[in-house]
């Protein structure tokens, strides 16, 4: 690649701002967006260094694959979590202790470590943590509730900031357009809704 993405963006901006009273160059902008996508596709991924099996399995349970999209693992959640932990000892410590807690609790509930346990036993633990969280998060499970909140938070963030997560919820923006319009289907929906609500 001879031209960096930034360089293309810069040239686009120069072209756009120097076009006295002319319209925005939509074609140039589309080229830049395609170029950026291509550059991303070529970028090498981050290789996990600290945490693997536990975070992988937890991510898969928190955001599993379904008809609407892949799993958080497909979205790079383990790499995301591992990278941030590798840069932040405080965060790494949360995960190290949390993973140890998950293994101890799994062992206490019938033997073995979390990763090797049946998926039924794994989800039973997560169900217990969610129930405890809804009950206020206190008690014996408190350390697990706090750790699971971290795992879920970062897994969900990793998924919904990935191309598949963004596609999953159907975000259609970050484009270059010559005009803004709310489409007729949305307008009709709001009209009906407002009528129903007596507005």
């Amino acid at each position: 690649m001879t031209l960096s993405r930034r360089e293309v963006l810069r040239q686009l901006a120069v072209a756009a701002t120097s076009a006295a009273a002319g319209g925005f160059n939509l074609e140039a902008a589309r080229v830049v967006h395609a170029f950026a996508a291509e550059e991303r596709a070529q970028a090498g991924g981050y290789a996990p260094r600290l945490l693997t099996a536990h975070v992988r399995r937890l991510a898969e349970l928190v955001v599993p694959a379904d008809a609407g999209g892949g799993s958080a693992v497909d979205a790079g959640a383990p790499e995301f979590i591992d990278l941030l932990c590798s840069e932040n000892e405080r965060l790494a410590d949360i995960y190290r202790r949390g993973v140890a807690w998950v293994d101890e609790e799994t062992d206490r509930r019938g033997g073995g470590a979390f990763v090797g346990a049946s998926s039924g036993r794994q989800t039973a633990l997560l169900d217990a943590l969610v129930d405890a969280e809804r009950a206020g998060g206190a008690g014996d499970l408190a350390p697990g509730v706090r750790f699971f909140a971290w795992v879920r938070r970062m897994t969900v963030d990793a998924y919904y900031t990935s191309p598949i997560g963004i596609r999953d919820v159907g975000y259609e923006g970050n484009r270059v357009a010559s005009a803004y319009d709310t489409p007729p289907a949305a307008l009709e929906f709001i009209d009906r809704l407002a009528d129903d609500l007596g507005l």
Binding site: V14, T17, G23, A36, D157, V169, G173
Partner: protein, 477 residues
């Protein structure tokens, strides 16, 4: 002629601060052929390189959580990783103090060419006629020595130059101006507008410094909704792109960045001769002499500079014979109320990015009832909502409600775009009583700001009730 050092250049005009005020002075004067020297405490801005407009979260391995996940620990860049280069509430080497009884005053300071215009919400309103005579209405503050009619032509000129969207509505609290066509309302805004009208509250096209037709070589908005990241095409107003860069192109503007003004100098006979500033790159103190000095360093910084400048002929600070420099600080108090609106589930997905921020807003409507409301002045309400670009934090509410697993994904799909916010921004009188202390060092100014908040809670309660009334029909969490 007074004796001057032969090597020392005397500049025609030195301006301190490159935000909305300083950049306007620099742009207008250079346009008239005057040579201007501009001091900015922060670095030069390169919009093309620094703005993150159009970047996706997955363009960064940290997705916007910032290295080491700083955002998860309440740290990181003010307004988020993707926001434009700006400044902060805490700046290295620039501590400040507030009075003991003030626990919630955060002083945001920009340190970048263009100042806060790089990141402000572009909401660009006029004062009303009654704002110029507040004492006549509520006995607070002072009437201005000028009226709305005096300043209206200057509003016209400013709007025509920077470009502001809007519509002619004839609402007294929000006088009409010289407008670009506003973009049509977003879907959730139409629902709020219907609710507003039922409550008798105006809900009108927003007035934002975004151009919807080309202006002075700036292309029209391309509706990516990312004004807060900085606009590479300068389709919104920022002093850096709309005024400083063109002023530099005239060849008559000299910009000195990383220059922290420390003290205004005088000749001992009551005339200003220039300013002493700290060159932040070298740590050296420099003096610059000028015939005219313009102090436009933001309300607090300008006051600090004048009060910290105490030559013999100005023992109470430069330009402070009245003793009111640094007093009677006016601030805007804002707070947000958000809600999940289940009735919006099922709204067909569409690209709601638009011109960034809200396309509609609610100007203040209660001026006739002012004496019955229990608080002075008023507020306006900004609207948030729509299908924003997913980012770090976007789906945490849905995730917590669902627990985990397939239910979580299903819930996120259903609840995406159903969250709507009212953000009342209050015009409220705050009084600051400066107790000047000696600066701790050249680069470590301290300006204690004891604040007395006058009846803000009553206004906040009013806004909360209005929000509840809005929420009642399609209510949720």
């Amino acid at each position: 002629m007074p004796a001057i050092q032969p090597r020392e250049e005397i500049h025609d005009v030195v301006v301190i601060g490159s935000g909305a005020g300083g950049a306007t002075v620099a742009h207008v004067l250079t346009g008239l052929g005057v040579r201007v020297t501009l001091l900015e405490a922060g670095p030069m801005l390169d919009p093309y390189r620094e703005f993150k407009e159009h970047d996706w979260p997955y363009d960064y391995d940290h997705r916007g959580a910032e290295p080491g996940g700083r955002r998860y620990f309440g740290e990181g860049k003010p307004f988020g990783f993707f926001s434009t280069t700006s400044g902060g509430w805490e700046l290295d080497g620039e501590p400040y103090t507030v009075a003991d009884d003030t626990d919630d005053f955060w002083w945001f300071r920009s340190r970048i060419v263009g100042g806060r215009t790089n990141h402000y919400g572009r909401m660009t309103f006029r004062f009303s006629d009654y704002d110029f005579a507040p004492r006549d209405r509520d006995g607070l503050g002072w009437n201005w020595p000028i009226t709305y009619e005096d300043i209206a032509p200057w509003y016209d000129r400013a709007e025509a130059f920077i470009g502001v969207t809007g519509s002619r509505e004839g609402i007294r609290s929000a006088p009409d101006g010289v407008f670009h066509d506003p973009p049509p309302p977003k879907a959730h805004e139409l629902l709020i507008q219907r609710a507003s009208h039922k409550l008798g509250i105006p809900c009108i096209p927003n007035r934002r410094a975004v151009i919807t037709r080309p202006l002075n070589g700036r292309p029209a908005c391309h509706y990516c909704g990312q004004c807060g990241r900085g606009c590479r095409t300068a389709s919104n107003y920022s002093a850096s792109q709309v005024q400083i860069l063109p002023a530099l192109a005239t060849g008559r503007l000299t910009l000195i960045d990383q220059a922290m003004a420390r003290e205004v100098t005088t000749d001992g006979a009551g005339r200003v001769t220039g300013v002493v500033y700290l060159d932040k790159r070298t740590g050296e103190e420099r003096t610059i002499r000028s015939r005219v000095l313009v102090v436009a360093a933001s309300a607090c910084e300008s006051a600090r500079l004048l009060l910290n400048s105490k030559p013999r002929d100005f023992p109470s600070g430069v330009a402070n014979h009245s003793g009111v420099v640094g007093r009677y600080l006016m601030d805007t108090v804002g707070f947000g109320l958000g809600g999940y609106v289940p009735a919006l589930e099922g709204l067909p997905r569409y690209n709601s990015d638009g011109a960034g921020g809200a396309h509609l807003y609610m100007p203040w409507w209660g001026w006739d009832d002012q004496t019955k409301l229990g608080f002075p002045r008023g507020y306006h309400i900004e609207i948030g909502g729509g299908y924003g670009m997913p980012g770090v934090g976007s789906f945490q509410r849905s995730a917590r409600r669902a627990g985990y697993g397939a239910a979580l994904k299903e819930r996120a799909r259903r609840e995406y775009g159903t969250r709507v916010r009212d953000d009342p921004q209050r015009r409220q009188l705050l009084r600051a009583r400066p107790e000047r202390r000696r600066p701790l060092g050249h680069s470590r100014p301290a300006l204690p700001l004891p604040l007395e908040r006058a009846r803000a809670p009553a206004g906040a309660a009013h806004a909360r009730d209005v929000h509840r009334a809005h929420r009642a029909p399609g209510r949720g969490g």
